[in-house]
């Protein structure tokens, strides 16, 4: 059973001695993050990496175990003497809710404290819907997901992936809703989620989370430098350097969709000239003019053309649609080639719903990058398509959530209490919101609430 060590430490201290909370918290934060980074590890390794003495490490691990934050129940492999006891983060102690909000889909999932995704669900949802509808649907799906993956210590945080830049780089939980989308102006999405789930909320851009998802769960595993390109209505890039996501000064890196590109005598932004709106517009024109037999037939049968339909028609061999996607790929490739020469990545990963449909854009990007890059840059370069789909955003949101939850600046203020829900700043924020309902049920109720 986890204990709040601030109370114990207050009783035990002698006159004039500092509180244990004041002296132990920094080393607890360091040790817990060393355990997270090298899970599982051993006491010996922790002593070596933390440069703390054996007695201090032993004391701090005992405290972390009392707080329920680590698990030392497993033995490692013996290399001569006794088998060492493995030290792990107690990842199943709490849960995180994660969600991706894309232009035309919602994804929700549940992750453990290590950032491992345990379950996920995706459904169509137009982000142009009123924010009230979005908040209700999101809350409903998150509640259902949490009921499915109950944990004794309950929910510790909510990590959202949103289709826009989230300003700021501080790790603190959100106390107000950033104006990521114009429709959210003045709508308290963060406040509502915090109140409904009694847990802190974090937010990252979808390009950031997808890049992190690809880095930790997809093609970027074990890679030091990666360029991630998301192709959708907007086109954005995520940059990984030395195995870490580069977020820039304002969290606004990789806005390549705003760069100007040229096609014949036309000039426009990459978003406008190569994004899914262009693919859709050109697809409709090809259907109306009869240039695309596939899409024209689709229209005759009463279907409504989407950018995905254009991509699928291209995959079926429709020449007009192949041309549309090739044009998009060449323009994206021009910009990606510039970035490739600048960053010299080991791998370039292309992602997005259209990319999942076929390899036509991928082929065009490869052609443009290999044609316009320095030979040294492309010698070992791999350009591939993501296999993670929208899961990349959820996996990345889970990883980002775990990093923010255990970020030293935030962790130091809750580690002695054993739960971020007891973080003083968060508790005060929650109390300051309008009537806060009790925390959601954390054991499966006999009769589950409706979705």
């Amino acid at each position: 059973m986890a204990q709040d060590l601030t109370e114990i430490s207050g009783l035990a201290r002698g006159k004039g001695r500092p509180r244990v909370a004041e002296t132990a918290a920094p080393s607890l934060v360091d040790l817990l993050n060393l355990i997270r980074a090298d899970d599982p590890t051993t006491r010996h390794e922790l002593e070596r990496k933390s440069e703390l003495g054996r007695a201090v490490v032993s004391d701090r691990l005992a405290m972390l175990a009392d707080l329920g934050l680590i698990d030392e129940s497993e033995l490692g492999t013996a290399t001569g003497g006794r088998a060492p006891r493995l030290v792990r983060l107690a990842a199943k102690q709490g849960r995180m809710l994660v969600a991706t909000l894309d232009q035309s889909a919602l994804g929700v999932g549940v992750a453990d404290l290590s950032g491992q995704l345990l379950t996920e669900h995706h459904e169509a949802f137009e982000l142009t819907a009123p924010p009230q509808a979005l908040a209700e649907r999101l809350t409903t799906l998150l509640r259902w997901s949490l009921d499915r993956q109950a944990s004794p210590a309950g929910l510790w945080g909510i990590s959202l992936s949103v289709p826009g830049t989230v300003p700021g780089s501080a790790g603190d939980f959100l106390t107000r809703t950033p104006p990521v989308l114009p429709a959210w102006e003045g709508f308290p999405l963060v406040e509502r989620l915090t109140r409904s789930f009694a847990a802190p909320v974090w937010m990252r851009s979808s390009v950031d989370t997808m890049t992190m998802g690809e880095l930790h769960g997809g093609a970027g595993q074990g890679i030091g430098s990666m360029l991630f390109v998301k192709v959708g209505r907007r086109i954005g890039a995520g940059i990984v350097s030395d195995g870490r996501l580069f977020r820039g000064a304002q969290g606004a890196t990789g806005l390549i969709g705003a760069l100007p590109v040229h096609l014949g005598d036309r000039t426009g932004t990459l978003d406008a000239m190569a994004g899914s709106d262009m693919i859709l517009r050109e697809g409709r024109l090809a259907a109306d003019s009869g240039r695309s037999a596939f899409l024209a037939d689709h229209l005759r049968r009463g279907g409504e053309i989407t950018a995905i339909d254009v991509a699928q028609a291209a995959q079926m061999g429709d020449a007009a649609c192949v041309e549309i996607l090739t044009t998009s790929g060449r323009l994206i490739g021009q910009v990606v080639a510039t970035l490739t020469n600048t960053l010299n990545p080991e791998v370039i990963v292309l992602s997005g719903a259209i990319m999942q449909t076929n390899d036509i854009i991928l082929a065009a990007v490869r052609e443009a990058v290999y044609g316009a890059s320095h030979p040294l840059v492309t010698r070992d370069l791999r350009i591939i398509r993501s296999q993670m789909g929208s899961s990349a955003g959820l996996v990345g949101a889970a990883r980002a959530g775990a990093e923010l939850l255990f970020a030293p600046g935030f962790l130091k203020d809750w580690v002695m209490q054993g739960s971020p829900l007891k973080h003083q700043g968060f508790a005060a924020f929650l109390a300051g919101l309008d009537v806060a309902p009790p925390a959601p049920a954390i054991t499966p109720p006999p009769s589950r609430g409706a979705l």
Partner: protein, 334 residues
């Protein structure tokens, strides 16, 4: 083709036509004499038998031997043991329906690590990725099936009434999608209806869960059960209930179809196309083994079946004549 749902990783569905086989594909497959194993959740349901029939037939056309057909009895541990056993047999491919999520994920991943091609049916455990761990997921549009059930049951629900939703307790993509879609439709189109929700952990629990739900909510006006085998167990309880209770379910199994033809308790069934799904899975397997590009998710649309179209739907889905009891119930024979 209209597909309402998204795939397990948010993929947009590809139609089964994407994996049509050309004569040269069949010839190439015959020349290589592949061996394929099939691992299903059960072999006891009409759905499983039809699915298997589609798989085996197409693979036979391609000179591919089905070396193992394994019934996991809905048990994750039995499935893990079966998949680990197949590692030693080294089939070229395994067509598997994962019966759970986390419990069976690693066993499926081990097949991929051993170089065995994996084609999934109906469920993709969290963490397994197309192209890395498996080739393609082939399933019904399960979200669409939940919408069909909700839309079909709605006219039977009076204003301000309550409807029961009996879901499956396991974390399973297909049944999760049906449950979520049913609720979503009711909440957006019939906000006056209250949803009373519960879940069964295994099929034997469906009847007691239904009885408990009816005891707690005697005024229930309808009931949706996420597939037909547990729905038949629930129907036994519903028939003994004080007042008629229209039901909706998924899968046009023979007994449920006869119940639908008789007008009670089933009001609507959202039918999958298991034979065609088996065909698509087998075609995908052949293309994967030949190294062709296959989509991450292939989905087949659901079919709305009511008493009015139950006979032709039965023929269409099962490719066999409707049973005498069904024909009699709809007045086509006397």
């Amino acid at each position: 083709m209209t597909i309402s749902g998204l795939g397990p990783h948010g993929e947009r569905a590809a139609p089964p036509e994407r994996v049509a086989l050309l004569p040269e594909d069949r010839a190439a497959a015959k020349a290589r004499a592949f061996r394929v194993a099939v691992v299903l959740h059960t072999l006891e349901s009409d759905w499983a038998r039809q699915q298997l029939s589609g798989i085996v037939g197409v693979l036979g056309d391609c000179g591919t031997a089905v070396t193992h057909v394994i019934d996991c009895g809905f048990s994750p541990s039995r499935q893990v043991a079966a998949l680990d056993g197949l590692l030693a047999q080294k089939p070229d491919a395994v067509i598997s329906l994962p019966v759970a999520n986390q419990e069976v994920a690693l066993a499926h991943a081990r097949l991929a690590e051993a170089g065995i091609k994996l084609i999934l049916l109906d469920n993709a455990p969290t963490g397994l990725l197309p192209g890395t761990h498996y080739g393609t997921l082939v399933s019904a549009d399960n979200f669409g099936l939940g919408l069909i059930a909700a839309e079909g049951l709605s006219p039977h629900l009076p204003q301000g009434s309550a409807v029961g939703l009996l879901g499956y307790g396991a974390d399973f993509f297909a049944t999760n999608e049906r449950e979520i879609a049913f609720s979503q439709w009711m909440q957006t189109r019939r906000p006056d209806v209250t949803i009373c929700q519960d879940a069964f952990a295994n099929i034997e629990e469906a009847a007691p869960k239904t009885a408990a739900m009816l005891a707690a909510h005697p005024d229930l006006a309808g009931l949706f059960v996420v597939w037909d085998t547990p729905a038949l167990q629930a129907a036994d309880i519903v028939r003994r209930h004080a007042k008629p209770l229209p039901m909706a379910t998924v899968d046009l199994g023979e007994d449920a179809a006869i119940g639908l033809a008789q007008g009670a308790p089933f009001a609507v069934i959202a039918a999958q196309q298991p034979y065609l799904q088996g065909v698509a899975a087998a075609q995908t397997t052949i293309l994967t083994l030949l190294g062709r590009l296959t989509p991450a998710w292939i989905a087949l649309p659901g079919i709305t079946v009511t008493r009015e179209n139950v006979v032709e739907s039965f023929q269409r889905i099962w490719r066999s004549p409707a049973p005498q009891a069904m024909l009699k119930a709809v007045g086509l024979i006397f």
